[in-house]
């Protein structure tokens, strides 16, 4: 399993070690600058997503205010918007020719940027702003699930023992929430590391960009592979941090403690502030970019109608996403289950290596995949010629199966962390009890294990489904001839810089991504079940 998932990374190691001729790669002069900018971006996005996600989760679980029930699911909405789409929409809004600066010029009577100052959206802080606004839901989801499960009982205990609300918050709730915070922030930061499109658009010199020009312009794949492995090391550190944080979960109270956190009713100014915060976050994270896309899409459809290819792209995208979600959940269940049973350090290390796919920039991952798959296809064809006298052609490379494989490698981390968190929280005792009472392995699986994990399974499937729909770089390289997904469709239009034309499939990505997000939110029905991401 670890081998199958780790194949692209191993291929990269092989390329980096065998054909490196010195120069380039880690010797790049811009590497320090890229490291600095990537580090700054990670720090900014980490802090911002932690703050926004935590406060949002805290508000909806511990207070009641007008619109709380809506806010509870609305906070998840930005998850459906890929960072590159949000980036492009925000630039349209805030650039010189956008409505905001237009209004500034109208109000001040100015005509040129030489006459007034306006913060540049295409900048490092601009990138951090846009990314934080679409990535905070990871933190929100993990923190909210956590608050619903845990801090209720302990916070109540603290209050009963005479602690003030402030003291209970700072001494009990915040320290206890650290693992949930770290889980969410890690997932958000992995997204940042992976994102080439948005980062390039904002003119941020990221590590990913250095990997890219080393490979493309200097035809130095070994150098690029070395850099990619450095990138993986950074991400491995992030993942390790996340897993380290999660270790502490075993100290927490078991799930059976069904004490809901008491919700204090807000009124007056605090209520206004809570509503304002919710409106602002959801507005900036979802309404503005989605609205901008909708404006473009309406203009495009009014002028040119709907392109028939979009419908087939939609169908293919959904089929691929369902396949990827299914496989990732299955594989994630296996790796998480394995980690739960066997606690040997080597096994755990291997499993962690297997989940590193998320760390590799999509295009580099695709190259890491295409090389061994092509070689394997060669072997298959040789065997075919030898045995039956005919070559079957390409079986693996350029097939939908290879594409689903790439998604599985990339998003295994997501399903693995979600499921492993779910398993830890549920605990082993129910399974052990069933076995002790004489149930067979299969019966335990179907009657106890899977049903009790259902929220986590659904959460994992939802996240992988949404991620797959948004995935672009690996899809571009690996998809079969003639197959288009919504994301490749957007890319094709955006590359031609036809942003209005790109808006239609872009809006569809958001819409399709919303379906499972809302469904999961709905199934949670007033907080009865567990939250979708752990």
């Amino acid at each position: 399993m670890a081998l199958v998932a780790g194949l692209p990374v191993l291929a990269l190691v092989w390329v980096a070690l065998t054909s490196f001729s010195g120069g380039g790669g880690l010797g790049a002069r811009t590497l320090p600058g890229a490291l600095r900018e990537t580090g700054l971006l990670l720090a900014m996005v980490g802090l911002a997503t932690a703050a926004i996600g935590f406060v949002a989760a805290w508000l909806v679980t511990h207070f009641s205010f007008p619109g709380r029930r809506i806010a509870q699911w609305a906070f998840i909405l930005p998850l459906a918007i890929p960072t590159y789409l949000s980036a492009f929409a925000w630039v349209e809004v805030l650039e010189f020719t956008g409505p905001v600066q237009g209004a500034v010029r109208l109000l001040t009577g100015t005509e040129s940027l030489r006459e007034y100052w306006f913060p540049a959206i295409r900048s490092l802080p601009g990138a951090a702003f846009v990314m934080s606004l679409v990535l905070y839901p990871y933190v929100y989801l993990s923190c909210r699930a956590y608050f619903l499960m845990q801090s209720g009982a302990l916070a109540v205990a603290a209050r009963t023992l005479g602690a003030s609300p402030q003291r209970a918050f700072w001494r009990i709730v915040l320290p206890l929430s650290r693992p949930a915070l770290i889980v969410g922030v890690t997932l958000a930061l992995l997204e940042v590391m992976n994102d080439l499109g948005a980062v390039e658009y904002f003119g941020v010199n990221s590590l990913t960009a250095v990997v890219y020009f080393t490979w493309i312009h200097q035809s130095n794949l070994p150098g690029a592979a070395q850099l990619a492995l450095t990138l993986i090391a950074v991400v491995a550190a992030l993942i390790w941090l996340e897993q380290y944080a999660r270790r502490r979960r075993s100290y927490l109270m078991p799930r059976d403690t069904q004490t809901r956190p008491p919700r204090a009713a807000l009124s007056g100014l605090p209520a206004v502030l809570a509503v304002a915060f919710s409106v602002l976050v959801v507005g900036l994270g979802f309404a503005v970019p989605a609205g901008q896309l909708a404006v473009g899409a309406v203009a495009q459809i009014a002028r040119f109608g709907v392109d028939g290819q979009i419908v087939s792209a939609l169908v293919q995208t959904v089929a691929l996403a369902i396949a990827a979600a299914f496989i990732c959940v299955l594989a994630g269940y296996m790796t998480a289950g394995r980690l739960r049973v066997a606690r040997s350090p080597t096994g755990a290390l291997l499993l962690r290596a297997a989940t590193l796919g998320y760390a590799v920039p999509g295009t580099v991952l695709a190259i890491g995949l295409v090389v061994p798959l092509g070689a394997l296809d060669g072997v298959i064809n040789d065997i075919g010629r030898w045995v039956v006298g005919a070559a079957p052609g390409l079986v693996l490379t350029g097939s939908a199966a290879a594409l689903v494989y790439a998604y599985a490698v990339r998003f295994l981390t997501v399903s693995h962390s979600t499921l492993s968190a779910g398993m830890v929280r549920r605990g082993e005792h129910v399974l052990e009890a069933a076995r002790v009472l004489g149930a067979s392995r299969g019966r335990v699986l179907w009657r106890i294990d899977l049903p009790t994990l259902r929220p986590a399974l659904m959460a994992a499937a939802t996240l992988v489904f949404v991620e797959t729909i948004k995935e672009l770089p690996a899809t571009l390289v690996l998809r079969p001839l003639g197959l288009e997904t919504l994301a490749t469709f957007v890319y094709a239009q955006a590359k031609a810089e036809l942003f209005a034309a790109a808006s239609v499939p872009a809006l569809l990505i958001v819409a399709v991504g919303l379906v499972p997000v809302l469904l999961a939110g709905y199934l949670q029905g007033g907080g009865r079940g567990q939250a979708i991401a752990s």
Partner: protein, 344 residues
């Protein structure tokens, strides 16, 4: 393995639903770096005339590597791409084979592979977009923008973008590595802002007053002037005029779009028919009209709009010589930390 049973079923279903159309023989399989909106009208015309159906895989970087990994089993017949770097890389990676010399004969030798593995199909020039309001010079050379009078007035996209890599590589051919280092250092310090955005964004920056002179490809001017979907771009384009650098000297740097014949092309005859079609006067005219590029054939005139910007005096240096300096150009951009912006 039994755990993968259902997974394999799902994968097989997806595969069956979307496998490539390999059964028909009257097809030509294309990996394309070019925007579909641009190539589709041409391919439609080709299909109508010959009955051969083009099957397209549109993508970005990585398609040539994919063809290389697929090896002799690869379904690809032709690779359509932009930038001289991709054309040369395809040959270096061994994914190409010689095209029938008779088909390539009309193409000027500077714009095709000496061994006939690829040919250019159209040209674009890397020019200056000068503010109509704030730039008085009527003619300028690449060397001129290194002068102190341009401090804080230039805009360009990332130095590592293929278009700029091509330009800098051609500078290395003319000035040598040390000369180009000095030139690029001066240009970097004349930038008004850190390189960001695409070529159109540079024109927008001139329009908004952030800078006075941008470096960009010619066809963007045509695309912006005729952009009905986003009419505000017409205003950006109208705020600038095109200056062809080095006209009368070394000539203006040009890059190309081109086509590669795949080494293991299963439909080689169809592929050569398509190349021949793309080099026909009819296709060359269509190309020039829809994308505002320069035709590669001497006998075909550019579109009226393109002609109105003046006459192109293209740098006659063979493109393979320019391509040979691309890695050096990329290392130089990295060395000078061009993309981190001016350092004054």
């Amino acid at each position: 393995m039994k755990h993968f049973g259902p997974a394999a079923v799902v994968a097989a279903v997806v595969l069956a639903a979307s496998g490539p159309a390999a059964a028909q023989s009257q097809i030509v399989n294309i990996y394309s770096y070019r925007e579909t909106g641009l190539t589709q009208p041409l391919l439609d015309r080709f299909e109508a005339e010959t009955g051969i159906k083009p099957v397209l895989l549109f993508g970005g970087d990585g398609l040539i590597e994919r063809a290389a990994a697929e090896g002799e089993n690869s379904p690809v017949d032709l690779i359509l791409t932009v930038d001289i770097g991709n054309l040369v890389a395809a040959k270096e990676l061994g994914v190409s084979q010689p095209i029938d010399p008779a088909i390539l004969a009309p193409v000027p030798p500077a714009y095709r592979d000496p061994d006939g593995h690829w040919t250019a199909l159209s040209m674009r020039a890397r020019v200056f977009y000068a503010s109509r309001e704030r730039v008085s010079e009527q003619s300028l050379d690449y060397d001129d923008i290194a002068g102190p009078e341009w401090r804080g007035r230039l805009c360009t996209r990332s130095g590592q973008h293929v278009y700029n890599i091509g330009l800098i590589a051609s500078r290395i051919v003319h000035l040598g590595l040390d000369g180009t280092r000095q030139w690029l250092t001066a240009v970097r310090d004349n930038l008004a802002r850190k390189p960001t955005g695409n070529d159109r964004a540079q024109v927008q920056a001139v329009y908004s007053g952030q800078c006075d002179l941008a470096i960009g490809n010619t066809y963007y001017m045509g695309l912006m002037l005729t952009n009905e979907a986003e009419p505000q771009q017409k205003q950006w384009a109208q705020s600038v005029r095109i200056i062809y650098p080095d006209a009368g000297g070394d000539g203006t740097h040009v890059n190309v779009s081109g086509v590669i014949l795949a080494r293991y092309a299963p439909h080689k005859a169809n592929a050569e028919k398509l190349i021949s079609f793309l080099l026909s006067e009819e296709a060359q005219y269509l190309y020039a009209e829809t994308n505002h590029e320069f035709p590669i054939l001497d006998g075909v005139a550019p579109s009226a709009l393109v002609a109105s910007w003046g006459e192109l005096d293209a740098d006659p240096t063979p493109l393979t010589e320019v391509a040979a300096q691309r890695a050096a150009a990329s290392v130089l951009v990295d060395e000078l930390r061009f993309d981190e912006g001016p350092r004054n």
